[in-house]
């Protein structure tokens, strides 16, 4: 069973990717992209987990308690923040696409069209 978290990370990644490939709406596409990204949270936290490890916050547990890895947790925090910023930026682009071309279907967005 020790492979399960990684398997789920792969599954979320591919499900999100399928959503991106089959998308008919830019907002749907952006949300699918954030699904792809959320697989990285699971992957990072899965890598740093130690069986029965406590959270690496030593307020009310002794210093030598077995705890999970803090570096991947900090990376996950970075991941979440950057993900939110990128999602906001992409949604803004979707708004502009709708204004300029009158459509949010990626199939109808033609790069050669004015």
């Amino acid at each position: 069973m020790s492979f399960l978290p990684f398997a789920i990370a792969i599954w979320i990644f591919l499900v999100g990717l399928y959503g991106v490939v089959s998308s008919h709406h830019l907002v749907h596409l952006v949300i699918c992209l954030s699904v792809v990204q959320s697989s990285t949270y699971l992957l990072l936290l899965g890598i740093g987990y130690r069986t029965n490890g406590a959270a690496s916050i030593f307020v009310d547990i002794p210093l030598n308690t077995k705890a999970v890895d803090p570096v991947v947790k900090a990376l996950t925090l970075t991941d979440v923040v950057v993900g939110a910023a990128v999602t906001a930026l992409l949604l803004a682009l979707a708004v502009q696409a709708q204004k300029r071309f009158g459509t949010v279907d990626p199939d109808e967005l033609d790069p050669l069209r004015d």
């Binding site: 069986t51 890895d69 803090p70 970075t78 009158g102 459509t103 033609d110």
Partner: protein, 270 residues
């Protein structure tokens, strides 16, 4: 955009949806196999032995007096990375404001709710009461989360997002115009810029103090106290300012798009 181009128009080079899906299923299966192969070579789940992280778990409290090791990693041991992360967010919000700026063919109109002859029932009294009651505690919670970043779970990033949601409560419970009054955009932008600059300045202050950039130069206090962990708490507040300003700006820009900006009559796109 030229007229007469229906959505039905398809280019010759375009592949059909079914073909695209088949292509994805094949390549997705290959990708899944490769990923499984790669991840199978990883240390087993729950059996991680990264020296760096485990060392930090042991030394962060005695060395930096920060009981939340994750904050210690973010604002001290790898503070330089967080500086980069902060500027990614800064650049993204800047880009968003630039993309969503008022275009030449748009004009700011009154919000839909205020249109002449329109009867808007507005939010019910219950919704108003709940949201107005929640604004204060939300801001307080945000302050608490930011101030205790180095001690318990939290910090500037988390607290900043919570503070920005207070704005959404005002929008949900009240009118858009009330929202505009409590959210003077220049002040929001100054908050955000102060946060970003503050992070750098706190780092540079370390150089003046005679230690490395972003090194912890303040007295470190007792672990577990609010005034402990030295510069980490200051950095957490700086990040809190930047995130609050950034997310308020993001939310405001999107709300402005839907509510106030409309195409000028007779204007052409492009």
């Amino acid at each position: 955009m030229s007229a007469g181009e229906g959505p039905a128009r398809r280019r010759d080079s375009e592949i059909s949806f079914a073909t695209r899906r088949r292509l994805f299923l094949v390549s997705g299966a290959v990708l899944a196999a490769l990923m499984t192969w790669a991840l199978a070579g990883m240390p087993a789940f729950g059996d991680y032995h990264g020296i760096y992280g485990l060392l930090l778990n042991r030394v962060a409290v005695p060395q930096e007096h920060a009981t939340n090791v994750i904050t210690a990693v973010n604002f001290d041991y790898r503070g330089f990375d967080t500086l980069g992360e902060e500027f990614i967010l800064f650049a993204a919000v800047l880009g968003l404001a630039l993309i969503l700026r008022e275009r030449r063919d748009e004009e700011e109109g009154p919000p839909d709710d205020d249109a002449v002859g329109r009867q808007v029932s507005g939010a019910s009294v219950a919704v108003r009461l709940i949201t107005v009651t929640l604004v204060g505690p939300t801001v307080l919670l945000a302050g608490y989360i930011i101030a205790h970043g180095a001690i318990t779970p939290g910090g500037g990033f988390q607290g900043g997002v919570i503070a920005a949601t207070a704005l959404l409560f005002v929008y949900l419970g009240g009118e858009y115009l009330a929202l505009r009054r409590i959210r003077p955009l220049p002040l929001v932008e100054i908050t955000k810029a102060t946060g970003a600059a503050g992070f750098v300045l706190i780092g540079i202050a370390g150089l003046i103090w005679g230690v490395a950039f972003l090194d912890n130069w303040l007295p470190k206090g007792t672990p577990g106290d609010v005034f402990s962990a030295g510069t980490m708490q200051l950095l957490s507040v700086a990040v809190g300012f930047e995130i609050t300003g950034g997310f308020v700006l993001i939310l405001s820009e999107f709300l402005d798009q839907t509510i106030v900006l409309r195409r000028r009559r007779g204007a052409r796109s492009g």
